[in-house]
C-alpha cells in the first residue's frame, strides 16, 4: 500500500515508519522534515501536499501541538492552540485527504489517553483528544467505498517518559513498538470508527 505519514519524523512517527516500511511504500511528510513539508493548520498547504503526493491507500496523522497548563490561568487563546493544531490539523487532513484516498483506504489519527485519564494541567489535551476520538466516530459513518477512519490513543511512550511522564503520575508508560502496532492494525485491518487505546 501507498501510505502517507504526516509527522513521520517524530518519536511515534519514526516507529510507525519502522513498523510499516517492510510491507508498504511510505511517504514521509512533516512540518519541517520528510519528503514533503506541510502545515496541517493551513488548508492550502494540505491541498498542495495531496496534489503532489496523489492518491494514497492510507493516511496517518501523528502531529499537532496542544497547550499544557493550569486551568485557573488558561486563556482562550492558549486553549485554542490544540483545537487549531492537533484537532483541526487532523480534521483538515481528513476533509481534504478523503478525496485522495483510494477505495478501501484508511485514515488513522492520533488522540491520547488524557481523553479519559485527566491530569492537572491537561484540560486542553483531554478536550482535544476526546474530540479526535469523537471525530473518527462521526466520520466513520460517512466515508463510503469501504474507506475507513480510526484513531490511536497512546499514553506517554517509554521513549518520552523523561520529558512528559511528570504530567501523568501513576500511569504506566507504553512501549513505542506497541503504539506503532496500533497504527498497523488500523492500516492493515478492516475496522472503522475505532479508537485503539494503548494504555
Amino acid at each position: 500500500m501507498k501510505v502517507l505519514i504526516v509527522g513521520a519524523s517524530g518519536t511515534i512517527g519514526k516507529l510507525i515508519v519502522k513498523e510499516l516500511s517492510p510491507r508498504h511504500a511510505i511517504i514521509e511528510a512533516g512540518k519541517h522534515k520528510g519528503q514533503y513539508q506541510v502545515d496541517i493548520t493551513n488548508e492550502d498547504s494540505v491541498r498542495q501536499l495531496f496534489t503532489q503526493v496523489g492518491k494514497v491507500d492510507a493516511i496517518i496523522a501523528v502531529a499537532g501541538n496542544v497547550h499544557w497548563g493550569s486551568l485557573q490561568e488558561m486563556s482562550a487563546d492558549q486553549f485554542k492552540i490544540g483545537l487549531n493544531e492537533k484537532l483541526m490539523g487532523q480534521v483538515n487532513l481528513t476533509l481534504i485527504g478523503q478525496h485522495f484516498l483510494n477505495d478501501g483506504g484508511s485514515i488513522t489519527l492520533t488522540s491520547g489517553s488524557l481523553s479519559d485519564d485527566p491530569h492537572v494541567g491537561g484540560a486542553s489535551f483531554t478536550t482535544v483528544n476526546a474530540s479526535i476520538d469523537g471525530f473518527i466516530r462521526g466520520a466513520a459513518v460517512e466515508l463510503d467505498h469501504d474507506r475507513r477512519i480510526n484513531s490511536v490513543s497512546p499514553n506517554v511512550l517509554q521513549e518520552s517518559w523523561d520529558v512528559y511522564g511528570g504530567g501523568v503520575p501513576g500511569t504506566e508508560p507504553v512501549p513505542g513498538e506497541k503504539v506503532a502496532l496500533a497504527y498497523r492494525k488500523s492500516v492493515e485491518g478492516h475496522q472503522t470508527g475505532q479508537t485503539y487505546r494503548v494504555w
Copy 2:
C-alpha cells in the same frame, strides 16, 4: 442558590428555568433575550456578563451553534463553527466563570448524544459534543474549593423532534422534563466530572 443560565430562552433553557426556579434565584442570559445579553464566543462579552452578575453558585450553559452537513462537502470553516460557538463558547464561560463561582458551586455544560451515536451529517456535532464531555472531565480535576463541573448530554427532545428528529433516525426522543432533571442533578448534587446522558 444563585444560578446563571446562559441560553435560558431556548427549548431546553426554559425547561431548566421551570425545574430550578421554585428553589433557586435564576439569572437568565442569552444572545438576544433574557436579563443579560452575552456573546459567549467573545471573551470580553463573557467577562462583562460576570462583572455585571457578580458571584454565583451555579453556571449553566445551553447554547452554541454547530454545522450539520455532509462530511464529503464540509469545509474547515463550516467545521470550525461548532468549535468556536458551542465548544469555545462554553469553555469561555468556564475559564472566566470559574473566577466568579462561589466555593462548592457548579458549572454545567451541554453536549449531546451524537458524541457516541453518530449519524450522517453530524460529524461536527459528534466531535464537538465529545470535546465538551472531555473538557468537563479535564476541568473537574483542576477546580478547587469543592467547585464542580459536569455536562448534560441529551438526545433530541420530544419538543424538538419535528425539527431535528430527521437527522437521528431510529433514536428515541427524550422528554424535555427529563433533560431538565439532569441539570438539577448537576446543580444540586455533589458529583463532578460526570456526563449525564439523557438518551
